[in-house]
Amino acid sequence: MALKQIKNKIISTKKTGKVTKAMEAVSAVKMRKSQARAFDSRPYVHAAMRILSRLSQSGDITTHSLAQKRDAGKKLVVMVTSDKGLAGSVNSAIIKTVETMLRNGEEFDVMTIGRKATEFAGRANLTVLGQFTNVSDDVTVADVYNMAEVVLDAYKKAETYSKVEVVYQNFISTFEQEPTKRQILPLDPAEIHYIMQGIKPKVGKFSESVVAADTVINYEIEPNAAAVLDVLIPQLVQIMLFHALLESKASEHSARMVAMKNATDKSKEVTKSLTLKYNKARQAAITAEVAEITGGMEAMKK
């Protein structure tokens, strides 16, 4: 390779390294933000759980239409992915999970959150009930509200769906994410408990869990348990979707951070080996020149 070409390649590799380094830094900040937001929503989830556990003691919960098990019907799967790529295997793992379900012959329709999921649903010819893209990193209630509406409408309207499940990337730690499938409807208190414990890294700033005091108090319920459940269950659906979104955001950013770190390291490595090559080529050129000159001098002496 000519000297000039190697030099250009070194320059472009260094530039790529700078870009990936910047992306790494940005992802690191975004990841911490996502974790902090998940932490912010804890009081809400704890209070909702408290109300639910109190109501479930009375037995009313199992008779509510949104908590009753349905035997027949297909599933509604909510797929949560990111909009953008360059994030390692976060999205492909979700898609693989859904593909496995397809291969196993499960019948289901989908609701997609994130562009990667929407694209996959198009490729796989799945019935899409709703699609949401461009969900900002600061997930708001308004975003979740619309999603929960689609889910609840579909579930309430007809008995075509036996179950609503959400598939998302569970955030375990910065280096570890896991595609997870959770049931949203019919409502199962155990599932909520799991989700509440959700976005909690094994170690670090947000790892300590907050345990709600388990007290038995005789509540007055106004106007009645069914009316409270009518309001509370949709709220819980929102919470579960919200947490799935947060988890997948945190997973996306941390996976991207790791992927970008690897890319930065690799670009440094490549720059190093290219520089070596460049110096070798330069030295070879100089040696050739010197040889030519001395050769010429020898020829003139004669």
Binding site: R37, D40, S41, Y44, I51, N218, F242
Partner: protein, 80 residues
């Protein structure tokens, strides 16, 4: 005067957390004002304005589109 602990939370963020004199919420059966040492209660809220009166008479209002209310041990939790 005994104060009531109040937590107002939205799905995505806490809205209010602190000690208050009273809180007025739009219940489905009509508006109600909750003072300290209220009996344990679970109730449904409709759309309206939640008014919080802090010590010293300072009033703060929050809009809500409905939610649930839980009171136990002199601690009121409003989920909107």
């Amino acid at each position: 005067m005994k104060l009531l602990k109040l937590t107002i939370s939205k799905v995505d963020a806490p809205v209010f957390d602190g000690d208050v004199v009273s809180v007025t919420v739009p219940g489905t059966e009509g508006e109600m004002t909750i003072l300290a040492d209220h009996t344990a209660l679970i109730s449904v809220l409709k759309a309206g304005v939640i008014t919080v009166v802090s010590e010293g008479g300072k009033k703060e209002s929050y809009d809500s589109v409905g939610g649930t209310l839980e009171i136990s041990n002199n601690h009121a939790t409003v989920l909107i």
